[in-house]
């Protein structure tokens, strides 16, 4: 259907599209409501990953026991996504396809290296997050495509902890800067694996692999992480707008990244050994 004309838009939760339509900024002639296609709403644990159907409501994912057990970072950020009434209608796929650089779910997808799966006619295409998000509200998916699922990797390590920090004008507003961290420790409390992402300051969220790698073999310290992130961001020009300057975003991102790492570290230390369960 999408191939038939470019005045068609997909609607799932509508929490982003309908405000745009109300303000007459988006003007589709027709809407294709995919919210009730049963095959598109699911949470499935497969070998090494959890796949979530695109039209799964955010509130369902927020309380899903598989997500809570296996994708702690996603579970962590969901309460920060808008408000409960938004999450009762909004979908995981809606947020990912919208690709707002400040979106928490997008940040998690980038940080964990999720895979986005879309359908384009009869083709089913899988794209890693690093290639999927191209810019603000811009993805690699063509206009004729429809996101069908997102696959998030499960960390098998023992003692996994997550952290999420954001700064916004009011709680629940879009962030000026945000940071997500996932850390795995060994039995002695040394970092074995790490993932760190920064959202809202650049056209797409950033995955800071260099810093994540540098954490391995260490016990993370806040000041050190902060300095490392500031240094890593030195060559990047963060967004500057009426809400915040580029300088603010750079400093805030570094501060939040450090806090997220420490939060993840503390959570990991407190976590039970996953293998012992």
């Amino acid at each position: 259907m999408l191939a038939d004309g470019d005045e068609m838009r997909i609607i799932a939760g509508g929490q982003t599209l309908v405000p745009l339509m109300a303000m007459r900024l988006a003007r589709p002639k027709r809407l294709i409501d995919i919210a009730r296609i049963p095959d598109l709403a699911f949470v499935r644990k497969e070998d090494g990953s959890v796949t979530i159907g695109a039209t799964t409501r955010q509130c369902v994912v927020e309380y899903d026991p598989v997500v809570r057990a296996e994708l702690p970072l996603l579970a962590k950020v969901l309460p920060f996504v808008g408000h409960a009434p938004i999450r009762s209608r909004g979908t995981i796929g809606g947020s990912l396809a919208n690709a707002d650089p400040a979106a928490e779910i997008v940040l998690v997808a980038v940080t964990l290296g999720a895979t986005l799966i879309y359908q384009d006619g009869t083709r089913r295409v899988e794209v890693p997050a690093s290639d999927f998000f191209l810019g603000p509200m811009l993805t690699a998916m063509p206009a004729t495509g429809c996101l069908v699922a997102a696959r998030f990797p499960i960390w098998r390590e023992a003692r996994v902890g997550v952290g999420f920090q954001e700064v916004n004008a009011r709680a629940s507003d879009f962030a000026f800067a945000s940071a997500a961290a996932q850390i795995a420790l060994d039995e002695t409390g040394i970092c074995r694996r790490a993932a760190l992402g920064i959202g809202a300051i650049t056209p797409c969220p950033l995955r800071l692999d260099g810093i994540a790698e540098a954490l391995i073999g260490t016990r993370p310290d806040q000041a050190g992480v902060r300095a490392a992130v500031e240094s890593a961001l030195a060559d990047i020009e963060p967004l500057s707008d009426l809400h915040a300057s580029a300088g603010y975003r750079r400093r805030a991102a570094a501060a939040l990244a450090a806090r997220a790492v420490i939060e993840a570290y503390a959570a990991a230390k407190a976590a039970e050994d996953a293998h012992a369960r």
């Binding site: 109300a22 303000m23 700064v167 709680a171 629940s172 009426l242 809400h243 603010y248 400093r251």
Partner: protein
């Protein structure tokens, strides 16, 4: 009025009767009203901040099925009179639709009427308007300076008002003071932004020649102004006072909306509804608030006592002059705040720019003025190295000095500011609060205590009108109440204006019940339409407790007097021996001789032969009340009594600021509030809490920001940030009562409480928190990223200096 007087119903914690309908979703808001045959309006707006309108082409819009009409500025101007302005500015006419020139981005240029609102919006997009963009000006100081683009060419300048008042020997006081300082303070554009936008349903009945108007409005002289603009006699406009208004706090003037809808209904012959959508409301609803620059000079002695003050206030009122320039005039009635400043020079400047039109906002300019005064007194304290509380204590008017005459001619009725402050400090355990601040600082947070001492002038009076516009000799400011007791003894009282949740029905019933000694729940309160109403000026200026309360009181007293007269006559006793008790009248010397309330009512209605001679039958009493202390014109040197009553509030809060992120958090908030006798505690508490939330918004979140192209960038709730429950901390209220000598129960107003002092208190807290870094901020709103940048820059500088 004795502070110790106990009341039967006044001050008791009664439910607010209006709440019943609201919790069931049975309020009657303007958009709820259904009239058969109603059509809907959408407006066409100008995209440029200034442009000549070359051509309006309606053809495509009219061709759309379901579209009835398209009206543009010239047609409407030919059929209507311009909207009233407050100042004497005949060359600055204002009309619902722009005529020949549009003067701000979002100004209404044309209106479409169609079968549905959605269709009207579709058609509005098809109206083709050809514009020639013109030079524009956005900044108030630029607009004031010569050489700026002029918004109204015929007026010749952007200056609507530029008047300097000198009260007292200002130059002498400055010369004789050992110290002086100057500072600049800025209050950016925000407003009260009610959740309900403006809505009006207008329906012209050509057979009765009456225009029915159902509108969400809070505006003095609204029916009158609609009639004048539509060139109808006043008795041809019927405004329904029983429409529930979904919040206003000053801004719901709606005059251009009502005139437009009224014109269309008369022209087209069916009811016409105009409900602003949120974008129309923010951009072109003409409901913005003050945007004011202050330049203040203070002259003071070694002890930090301020002798004299000079204040220049320049306000950017937007593209047209409504009543908003008067928001520079009302604060004259409390120009020294709660302080004993002996002389004042005040320059009030109102300028036009190509921004949305400013309208009345809660407290009518007093909150920005309080903010400026409080910044000044803290600056004085800092200059002399005197603690911020102490410097205020030294300057505050003392309890024994009331009534206190301020240099601009207003007398403050009563107060005990030091007592309120002491109560708040005790409740807060001020020493512990300071220790807590120091502990938080030791943990690495920036932490500050905020303080503000402010007045809430209440009772309202429009003496700023003759003060700023000598051609306007208004000295009357009324409200009224009518009480009727029916043949069965049921008491019904009337309110002659719309309300927006202030609990006026509860207020009137409580007052009447108090006088008549009967349960207020038995008193019915209704709102006749404007044709059946007595004079009212609407709930502005924190006046209704005083004015509606007063009018209801006096009407009830007249009823009580009549019952006494009827009873005395029927008992054949002199009037002095007759006593009243809960509706009954009895002989004081022989209490068993009595007439019951029911019996007295029956005599009044049905037994003319038992009435004292010359008495009107029935039991209907009216009181139209003039504002206490009002009635005089200003003196030649611009002195006048502004409002009658002065409530006082003292804010104390503890705030931390995250040094890396610049994010403020209010940890504790205590406010001392003295509004005299409280008629209904639930209502007053709600007002204070709501006012503080408004103040938090104005201080930290809300701004009508414009970009360099003259476009409002905060057009929706995604960019104009209203505080949610997360942003408003718990607030403790400490009460104090110094009754007013001017009112029937000693009550003062409280409709603006909290809003008057919260912005100043929050600025005080931020400044205290940033003081160790040497940062001073005298401009609102204070935003997170801005704080982050300032803190980082100060630390950077410090590091450089240390090297």
């Amino acid at each position: 009025m004795s502070a110790a007087k106990t009341f039967r119903f006044v001050s008791s914690d009664r439910r607010v009767r209006e709440d019943r309908r609201f919790v069931a979703g049975k309020g009657r808001f303007a958009a709820d009203i259904v009239l058969p045959g109603t059509r809907h309006v959408a407006v066409v707006t100008c995209p440029y901040p200034a442009a000549r309108i070359l051509r309006v082409d309606k053809a495509q819009a009219l061709a759309l099925s379901g579209v009835h009409y398209v009206v543009e500025g010239r047609e409407l101007a030919a059929a209507t009179a311009p909207l009233l302005a407050g100042l004497d500015t005949p060359k600055v006419p204002r009309r619902p639709l722009a005529v020949d020139v549009a003067r701000y981005a979002g100004e209404w240029v044309a209106a479409v009427v169609a079968e549905s609102r959605a269709l009207a919006e579709d058609a509005a997009e098809l109206v083709q308007v050809a514009y020639e963009p013109l030079p524009f000006v956005l900044d108030g100081e630029e607009a004031y300076a010569p050489g700026s683009p002029v918004v109204h060419a015929e007026h010749g300048t952007n200056v609507l008002l530029d008047r300097t008042f000198v009260w007292g020997e200002v130059e002498k006081d400055f010369a004789q003071s050992p110290h002086r300082l100057s500072l600049q303070v800025k209050w950016s554009r925000s407003a009260t932004v009610p959740i309900e936008t403006f809505a009006v349903l207008a329906s012209w009945d050509p057979w009765r020649e009456i225009l029915d108007v159902f509108a969400s409005v809070q505006m003095p002289r609204f029916p009158d102004q609609v009639a004048l603009a539509l060139k109808l006699p006043g008795s041809s406009v019927r405004v329904y006072n029983d429409v529930d208004v979904g919040g206003s706090y000053g801004v719901k003037r709606g005059i251009k909306h009502a005139v437009l809808a009224g014109y269309l209904s008369r022209r087209l012959g069916f009811p016409v509804r105009l409900v602003e959508d949120r974008l129309e409301n923010m951009r072109g609803g003409d409901a913005h608030g003050p945007e004011r620059n202050f330049d203040i000079e203070a002259a003071f002695d070694d002890a930090g006592v301020i002798r004299s003050m000079k204040m220049r206030a320049l306000d950017n009122v937007g593209a047209y002059a409504g009543r908003s320039p008067f928001q520079l005039g009302k604060p004259i009635g409390a120009i020294v705040g709660p302080y004993r400043i002996k002389s004042v020079q005040y320059q009030a400047i109102a300028v036009t720019t190509n921004k949305t039109v400013q309208e009345a906002v809660r407290a009518f300019g007093q909150s920005p003025t309080n903010f400026a005064i409080e910044r000044a007194i803290e600056a004085v304290g800092r200059h002399r190295g005197i603690d911020r509380l102490e410097v205020r204590r030294r300057n505050l008017i003392r309890a024994h000095e009331f009534p206190y005459l301020i240099p601009s001619g207003t007398s403050y009725d009563s107060g005990d500011y030091h007592a309120v402050i002491d109560k708040v400090l005790a409740r807060a355990d001020y020493g512990e609060l300071r220790a807590e601040r120091d502990r938080l600082r030791a943990e690495g947070l920036l932490a500050g205590i905020g303080i503000a001492a402010c007045l809430e002038p209440s009772g309202a009076n429009s003496t700023f009108e003759p003060l700023l516009n000598p051609k306007n000799e208004t000295t009357t400011y009324t409200d009224s109440c009518r009480i009727n007791v029916d043949v069965g003894g049921a008491v019904t009282a009337t309110i002659h204006t719309l309300s927006a949740g202030q609990g006026h029905e509860t207020l009137a019933a409580t007052v009447i019940g108090e006088v008549l000694e009967i349960d207020p729940d038995r008193i019915r309160v209704v709102r006749p339409d404007s044709l059946s109403s007595l004079p009212s000026q609407s709930p502005v200026g924190s006046r209704m407790a005083i004015m509606l309360g007063g009018a209801a009181f006096h009407a009830a007293q007249k009823l009580k007097a009549r019952l006494l007269a009827i009873g005395a006559h029927d008992l054949a006793i002199p009037l002095e021996r007759a006593a009243y008790e809960r509706g009954d009248v009895f002989d004081r010397t022989r209490p068993e001789r009595r007439r019951s309330y029911g019996g007295l009512v029956t005599i009044a209605h049905r037994h003319f032969h038992r009435l004292p001679s010359g008495t009107e039958p029935g039991l209907a009493f009216t009181h139209i009340m003039q504002v206490p202390t009002g009635g005089q014109l200003p003196s030649a040197d611009g002195r006048v009594q502004m409002y009658p009553c002065f409530a006082f509030e003292f804010h104390l809060l503890l705030m931390t600021i995250d040094a890396e992120l610049g994010r403020p958090k209010i940890r504790r908030y205590i406010v001392g509030h003295d509004c005299g006798t409280v008629i209904n505690p639930k209502i007053v508490r709600g007002m204070t809490m709501g006012g503080i939330a408004h103040g938090i918004g104005a201080a930290l979140y809300e701004e009508f920001a414009y970009n360099a192209d003259g476009q409002l960038v905060a057009q929706s709730f995604m960019d104009y940030l209203l505080p949610s429950a997360h942003e408003v901390p718990p607030v403790e209220i400490v009460e104090h009562v110094t009754p007013s000598p001017h009112t029937v129960f000693g009550q003062k107003g409280s409709g603006e409480s909290g809003y008057l002092g919260a912005p100043a208190a929050i600025a005080s807290a931020v400044n205290d928190a940033l003081q160790p870094l040497g940062i001073e901020l005298n401009s609102l709103p204070i935003k997170i990223a801005q704080l982050g940048d300032l803190i980082a820059a100060a630390k950077e500088k410090r590091t450089c200096n240390d090297r």
